[in-house]
Amino acid sequence: MQRLVLIFAIAIAASTSIAYAASLNVGSWHLWAGAQTLTKATCTLSGTTSTTDTYVDEKNPATTAGGSTTLSVGPKTGQRTWAFVRFDLSSCSIPATGGADSATLNLRITTAPASTRTLDVTPVLSTWDGTLTWTGAQALTYGSNFATITTGTTSNVTKSVTVTADIDALIKNGGANFGWRISEASSVTNVTTLFGSAENATAGNQPQLVVSYEK
């Protein structure tokens, strides 16, 4: 009887081995698995080193205002003023493979209009600098308005605009856009909103871009 059990056990062990050996030759497969971890950080830009801004004046179409301490936005037909602002992201050292999680443009109203205004924020898709004129601004390429600023009538307040998509695109392609135009549709109303510029002596009045990014 002991021999019977022994023979039975050997037979089971042998059959198991044969099955395992057979599975080794089932076939050939490709398999690769990997992971990528993202690093998060925040970069804040302001001041003349990283900011280019100006405004243009319809009444003085050849005049430049790149050194002005304020940026004017006004709707009066024939006297419109548009503000322009953009940032150089290079000091943030974000690789082109990175991206923005969020980006906020902060503009400080130093002189509010007498009546509240709704200003359009429009991406600028062709390059410009502080020598931009009204005439030059007509030749620029613009994207679609994607946000507005409601000014209110109180001076020395900061208005924030979410610009995540534009900054994300800019991180991936340095020529994707060239900041934004702040403007208002033409009207008979003679009111002006003044924002602090990068040349403003008060740091808190300067345009600011806050970028939370990943790389």
Binding site: A22, L24, V26, H30, W32, A35, T162, V163
Partner: protein, 127 residues
């Protein structure tokens, strides 16, 4: 009696052996799952993958582009999983690597905040 025991033992051994071989044969012929056996596993030439992802203006993830997928992986399945800070999945997508490999775009992960996205996991599998 001894002779009977030997015969019986031999019969059992033969039966068990053939049963095991039968199971192995059916595994080889019918199974396409990697977990079914100890198959020979190699890669299709992937050493690493890098991803560029895009967001909308609300900060929600919209798509990712996985670049430099080796041409040798054509026909195999590339899977991408978005993970949060705890390594938990936020969404996943997969597609067959096209002929020539290259860049592959994945979207349709649902609403995922870019802020919560802390990494990607990849897998390339195929026969």
């Amino acid at each position: 009696m001894k002779l009977l025991a030997k015969i019986l033992g031999l019969a059992l051994a033969v039966a068990a052996t053939f049963a095991a071989c039968g199971a192995a044969a059916s595994l080889a012929l019918g199974s396409q799952a990697l977990s079914a056996g100890n198959a020979s596993v190699t890669t299709c030439g992937v050493a690493s993958l890098s991803t560029t992802r895009s967001v909308d203006n609300s900060g929600n993830f919209t798509q990712i582009v996985v670049s430099s997928v080796p041409a040798a992986c054509a026909g195999e399945t590339l899977s991408v999983t978005l993970v949060n800070g705890s390594g938990g999945p936020l969404g996943s997508s997969s597609a067959v690597v096209p002929a020539g490999g290259g860049a592959m775009t994945f979207s349709g992960f649902g609403t995922v905040s870019a802020t919560s996205l802390m990494g990607f996991e990849y897998a390339v599998a195929g026969a």
